[in-house]
Chain length 377, copies 2
């Protein structure tokens, strides 16, 4: 350890003792290695004392998780709303849910290190403002400030709070908590009612000028295509989302039929040919989107996640086939596509990862590298 | 100056004297400022003694420029080939052209600091390999090594040499030599026979896992659209490039009719309605591409350049109109679109900028930021 960080053994011991005391690290039992000399004491990230909270705000549901520093989910809460979720209702419910989790888990030797929220739209992280969420119909909502206000006077009041786009936090979940961190650039494509991507380049989240980078659900794939919730025509989301598939497969179900993905699954299970065809068509357009993401970012890996993954091969097989066909036509290798290992927790766990990311990595501001001319060559 | 860099006045004086001696800086005459105290000596980047070389390798032509450290073009050479340019012919001609420029300009107190080359395809800059150029039909060509080999034994043998994609270098030209450096992310969209983008985020070039990031000419805009030179169908390039416009406007001209853009201009001037319609259609698809670039990267500014800009409003007006329509539908501001101030020199000057960029900025390797947990909060 001393060798790796370039400090003396005694300084490392001192720092390790501090990290042990603060709950970052834990010592495991000394094990016989068979080698000569004093047996080393193995150190691990302490999974029990410092916790992270992460929340996913969906279109009609909220999921909150508490995780260890390494992303293991310790507890989970789900809240469902009707079709429409009001902003004040959302903030109040979210605040109540994280407090419940905190009460269940936190104690004398356990504390919440930070909290993250993933929102379905473009977010300006610095100000905590949700710029635009087509599926919620929210414009310029100061979500971070509203939640902080709601948490005032509670035990969670002082906990660092971060908000970001849902696909962005899920991408950070892959970066912080999985082996995918070696893949650069790393993309996470979120396929829910909304479609969006989180992009990580050089271990930094690509956010863009206004927080809209990666809003690839609104990449236009068809001139004069179907109308999207955002107002444009022919967006990827309007061709791929569950509602698009339902629209292509027959009359829209009433509110009693459950989630759009659930309804699609029910129809597929019933052997409905029109639904199978609609899902296949959406899969092909998903393949076009994946191909376009590959040309835009040249990712080492694209992780896909979101509720539509429940459709399984019915959606993914035509998508990957389309992607392979494009790559073969250009004599290129297709990009690596993986399914998120966090399943339905991807955004909530990712939101916890956002807190870890911001608390443990130095913030390099864009433009921090100045154009200093050196002395010469 | 001492205040700005945080060094003592005497150290700054020493460093400035060194920079003056090496040709980086120049002192101008002392001017009366009307203020009290010793009049300050204004310092400027020396435009005369340290030069950069930049080359654009096109599909059937090469342009080489020599510039000052601030991107002012001092000399220029153009080479035209028939429709097909061989790799060996290209390297030999390029080598001869840069040597001619060097001979014309370099002297006892003038030296070439570095040289850059912009190539029409995906480039792995570290190895100097051109991965794939659909329009040249070249695959995995070690262009940097071939050119270095050709320059062996010449006065340019020791000069640092860099190769990169043409749109990438043009983006660096905007970053290094214009005020657009304040725009982050900054995109340069190159619209020639090939279409591609250079993307700069936080003053760093986005290159991707294999050097293909920004190859947005091969973003698919139309399912089962026209066949592209890359082999795919429906790529932006197959809908926007001059050859696509000519194909839509009537029978292809023979080789005697000059460049495709020249032929389009001739037909537009002659009032050909089919050509006007074809250029308008390409402009609309250019608008779709610009809209998709905006969703992918959320740029603060998109600079457009390339030979197609000669078509002027016939191409740009429908493009910008399409972009505005999409933005208005989503109730968002359209991204800022600017025409490159370097005109037809954009890639060659950008290649010179690549040399300045690599020689004067510290290379931050992707992944250099490690996940070091700090001592606590």
């Amino acid at each position: 350890l001393a060798l790796a960080v370039g400090l003396t053994k005694s300084t490392v011991s001192l720092l390790v003792r501090e990290l042990l005391a603060e709950g970052w690290l834990i010592e495991h039992e000394v094990v016989a290695t068979g080698e000569l000399g004093r047996r080393p004491t193995p150190l691990f990230i302490d999974p029990s004392r410092l916790l992270l909270l992460g929340a996913e705000v969906g279109v009609a549901e909220i999921r909150v998780v508490a995780t260890t520093l390494t992303g293991v989910v310790l507890a989970r809460k789900d809240l469902s709303f009707g079709a429409a979720m009001s902003l004040t209702g959302c903030v109040a419910s979210l605040s109540a849910a994280v407090q419940e989790l905190h009460q269940e888990l936190a104690g004398d030797d356990r504390r919440i290190l930070g909290m993250g929220v993933g929102l379905p739209g473009g977010v300006d992280e610095a100000s905590g403002v949700l710029r635009f969420s087509p599926n919620l119909g929210w414009h310029d909502v100061p979500f971070g400030a509203l939640l902080a206000e709601q948490l005032r006077g509670t035990p969670l009041a002082g906990v660092p709070l971060y908000v970001q786009n849902e696909a962005d936090v899920a991408a950070l979940g892959e970066l912080e908590f999985t082996v995918a961190r070696q893949a650069d650039p790393l993309l996470y494509l979120s396929i829910n009612q909304g479609v969006g991507a989180g992009v990580i380049v050089g271990e930094r989240l690509l956010t863009g000028a206004r927080g809209f980078a990666g809003e690839v659900g609104h990449m236009v794939l068809e001139w004069a295509g179907p109308r999207c919730t955002c107002g444009r025509q022919g967006c990827a989301e309007a061709l791929i989302s569950p509602r698009a598939m339902l629209g292509d497969s027959g009359p829209l179900p009433g509110p009693a039929s459950g989630s759009p993905v659930g309804e699609l699954l029910r129809r597929l299970d019933a052997g409905d040919a029109a639904t199978a065809k609609a899902v296949n068509k959406a899969g092909k357009y998903l393949g076009v989107l994946l191909q376009n993401l590959a040309t835009a970012y040249d990712p080492a890996c694209i992780v896909v996640g979101g509720s539509c993954l429940q459709l399984g091969d019915a959606l993914l097989q035509p998508a990957l086939e389309t992607l392979r066909t494009y790559a073969a036509a250009a004599q290129l290798e297709p990009p690596v596509v993986q399914i998120s290992s966090f399943g339905a927790d991807a955004v909530a766990v990712g939101a916890a990862a956002l807190a870890r990311y911001r608390l443990t990595r130095p913030l390099i501001a864009p433009g921090a590298q100045h154009n200093n001319l050196p002395k010469g060559t």
